[in-house]
């Protein structure tokens, strides 16, 4: 009897045939500005609320990815996704608009990797011919749901991260490109005992460590096999903790390690530890990472999206913050 399987090797190597990223004005001024498909000028997008703006953004993203794959919405067999808003309303309202078979998921900021992992398995086993996986987050809707009303002008502690306004989507299919998902590892829920909701990176680092160890072991690869190992949104502090944790296991992350939350903003932007949110790894994957793979700059990438699985209620009730990380290997064949 197998003990708690985590890794699945995808024998048919499902291909990435379309992807789209879209971000807000602040992300659009950052180091990855030339890689994003669309940068919005106004993060409210002429909507009556930030929640509606987030939803409008995801609609554009899903449409954009499908369009770039050369398909129409009706050609896509199913949509997989979730988001940070309560009851994943951004995703389900988007699925309503497109009248598409919908599989709702939730892994907090690890949702992009969870959606891609499941989507890749479904395409690999010919359950679906093609699927679209995507997610989005918005600084202003996340801030008022998880933390404080924006109007309060609350001071941010130095360990805090900045929820990315933006997101990305990926279309997976049996054939049609030379960029493939070749292995996925689903995470376990790992808890380091951190209670500070302004230190998400610290809370999620042990989950990232756990999943990276499992992914390396089960795919029989080592750190040097990857041109890039990118965690989702550990931020600066969380990344340093991850490097330390892996060092104890004799895994040395080198120059090929980075974090999407650190890649998306630069030091001139007052985001403290870096970006976070389900849209962070989603927008970085579907811009910088996939474009570098397509251009041949990267040959093999491990994306390890990380999620903090608390709610405001669990934090108010004194619970610690559990983390999860899901990993996918993306290769240029």
């Amino acid at each position: 009897m197998a003990i708690n399987k985590q890794t699945i090797i995808l024998k048919n190597k499902p291909r990435i045939i379309g992807h789209f990223s879209m971000v807000g004005p602040m992300e659009g001024k950052g180091p990855l500005k030339d890689y994003f498909d669309y940068i919005v000028k106004d993060d409210l997008m002429k909507q009556a609320s930030y929640e509606k703006s987030e939803r409008t953004m995801l609609e554009h993203i899903i449409f954009g990815a499908i369009d770039k794959a050369g398909y129409k919405i009706d050609d896509i067999e199913a949509m997989l996704g979730g988001d940070l808003l309560n009851q994943i309303v951004t995703s389900s309202f988007t699925a309503r608009k497109f009248k598409i078979t919908f599989i709702g998921l939730y892994s907090a900021c690890a949702t992009m990797a969870e959606s891609l992992a499941l989507g890749a398995i479904l395409v690999d086993n010919k359950v679906f011919k093609n699927v679209v996986a995507g997610t989005c987050s918005h600084f202003s809707s996340a801030e008022r749901q998880y933390r404080f009303p924006l109007e309060l002008g609350n001071q941010r502690p130095p360990t805090s991260q900045w929820t990315v306004t933006g997101g990305g989507a990926t279309v997976l299919s049996e054939t049609g490109s030379n960029i493939a998902i070749t292995a996925v590892t689903f995470g376990k829920v790992v808890d380091f005992g951190i209670k500070d909701v302004n230190n998400m990176g610290g809370a999620m680092a042990p989950a990232a460590c756990d999943t990276i160890l499992a992914h390396l072991k089960n795919t029989k690869t080592n750190v040097d096999d990857y041109d890039l190992i990118a965690t989702g949104d550990l931020g600066k502090l969380g990344s340093e903790i991850l490097v330390d944790l892996l060092e104890r296991e004799n895994i040395i992350l080198g120059q090929n390690y980075s974090d999407c939350g650190c890649l998306i903003f630069d030091k001139t932007e007052r985001v403290f530890m870096g970006g976070s949110g389900s849209g962070c790894s989603a927008s970085v994957l579907n811009s910088y990472i996939l474009k570098k793979l397509e251009a041949g700059n990267f040959k093999k990438v491990m994306l390890v999206a990380t999620g903090a699985l608390m709610s405001t209620t669990t934090s108010q009730q004194g619970e610690t913050i559990p983390g999860i990380a899901h990993a996918i290997t993306i290769e240029r064949l």
Copy 2:
């Protein structure tokens, strides 16, 4: 190119090898009282909050289902599930306790069927040897998250339903019993334009209609092929709307149609239109329905769990309530 695939026929017929249901005291006095595996005397379960009580309940349920399958937690390769609480904390905290590979899902009250559908596909394609799928809800935690503080003693309108305190879990494996999941249909998000959050049954009925039509057509079956067609939690009013909607499509639901929300409570309990919540179809499936299948009273059952995909924020912002329904066929071989 296929247009929006919804139904998957499971060629290897993954088996249900263990199941467990647990409910609160009120559900334990209802018509299904002899079918539940465990009825708690105190719905707070000696915990400090209803959220902790809900979590304790799901821990017992997941453990119970795995134990009844004759396995230990470590023998189970993955857990699939979600729940009604914001950020599905009941499920992710349960996964934390069991240190198990976790795939977090969300389809509101349709989560049991979504978890089973995905779990069955993963086992059918030998991605996992076995999985546990489960969910739980709690009247008191749902009431204060979605509606009003319990202390307010708010009057309930006549179209309202009562969130079930309880839940259920199912262990799926490649072999090991004669009860199998043979087909699944994932739903699309359907919106009838209803805004009244006290009329969830009405909001979800069109989604149930849409999914039942797809499931019948794609599995080439008709209503009479099933000993039971059970919707998740449409309640009395929602069920009547569903019967009407299907009649317009020349599908006549007869004596073999029922709704888990109507089955779980009787008229002496002041629950108005019946039960609801992700634990509603979860507890009824994992008690009454599966026990009747095992006893040979049913040979073929269609479970159509239904979910309302709004959040308190979308309702406050004037949005209508989108619904979704996922269907599974369970057969005694």
